[in-house]
Assembly symmetry: C2
């Protein structure tokens, strides 16, 4: 008998809210609370309690009728659901200002993201380390990714170099790409692409500012 | 007679796609093209041509039946719609690794974002400059924002300090806040809040990786 893993794709808005729950729960825990209701979470985050309960349902954590959720348990449940309870080794390509900031942003470690190698085409950078992570030449990506069985690649190179870097990552067996380059990357269907494009966020900000003005 | 400006709020997915059109159009222009059809844009971006035409309709730019859009005109139209065709002076609070990267990320200048002052509580940083932008004490935000008529504030401080910084910005008359701190900020209703929370993007990435595995 074959056991086939089937996961329903979690709605993206739910996935984007889950880290915000974690931030709030951490704060409540620091305040000395051990339990919290969906109503309190909803109030704090300006959401509907039904929405909160639905989101949390995806993670498999259940609350109790009167007291609500155990905070510790809920944090653990959400982090587990997001694969943040284990080390996710990752490559990062592009050690400019954004790449360097990403490497130095220690908060990501709390979420399991662990940069094991960085890549750049600048001969002055290759062979050195940034925030204790060694820098290699871009063309070393496929070989090293295969050898180290890396699944996550982060792209912080300029737009013109992004597709080449992505192709190298795919050739090395990388399965999920976090793209910070301001360009649409083309990937095979079985690879996850998440665009963290700051210009998209800026577009919402500047247009909304105009609309309220 | 009163003239009241009324703008329908543009759908957020449209706003998030517009910068991607600009990136593509810039690339096509470099390739030597002067005109482009909605079908070509749609193919390149893996969208439906109807969706592309709808998005562009918001900006007020119109295409011609056979040749499509003039590329130059379309770039100009989108940038104008997003207020990227003028200088948007901004404050940034928090000169850690992320704040420093944001100040050094010259691409934002292309989109009109112009950092005129940075703020931090670190006495060693106050009075110095980063990427040519002067650093002041956090409590100087309200006064300076009022004097300089700043409308945009960027928050790159740690979570625990974010609300205080936001309150200072509001007190100074800032109308749009771009928040990078991993916390939900509470703001008056007439202020625009755009959360550029990297952890939300990471959540989508790591969960999707698990779901395809």
């Amino acid at each position: 008998m074959n056991l086939i893993k089937t996961y329903k794709a979690t709605p993206e808005p739910t996935l984007r809210r889950l880290p915000r729950y974690v931030h709030l729960l951490n704060k409540l825990r620091l305040d000395g609370l051990t339990e919290v209701s969906s109503t309190i979470i909803a109030n704090e985050m300006n959401l509907d309690p039904t929405q909160v309960r639905k989101d949390i349902e995806y993670t498999g954590v259940t609350g109790k009728p009167k007291t609500g959720y155990n905070i510790e348990e809920l944090i653990k449940g959400i982090k587990g659901f997001l694969s943040w309870n284990k080390i996710n080794d990752a490559f990062i390509a592009g050690v400019g200002s954004l790449g360097t900031a990403m490497l130095g942003y220690t908060r990501f470690k709390e979420y399991g993201l662990n940069y094991v190698a960085a890549f750049d085409n600048d001969q002055m950078k290759i062979g050195t380390k940034v925030h204790n992570v060694p820098i290699f030449s871009i063309d070393k990506i496929p070989d090293l990714a295969k050898k180290m069985k890396i699944k996550i690649g982060v792209i912080t190179v300029p737009a013109f170099a992004a597709q080449t870097v992505a192709d190298h990552m795919i050739a090395g067996g990388i399965k999920a790409i976090w793209n910070f380059a301001p360009i649409q990357i083309k990937l095979p269907e079985n690879v996850v692409l998440e665009n963290a494009q700051l210009t998209q966020s800026l577009a919402v900000l500047t247009r909304r500012l105009f609309e309220i003005d």
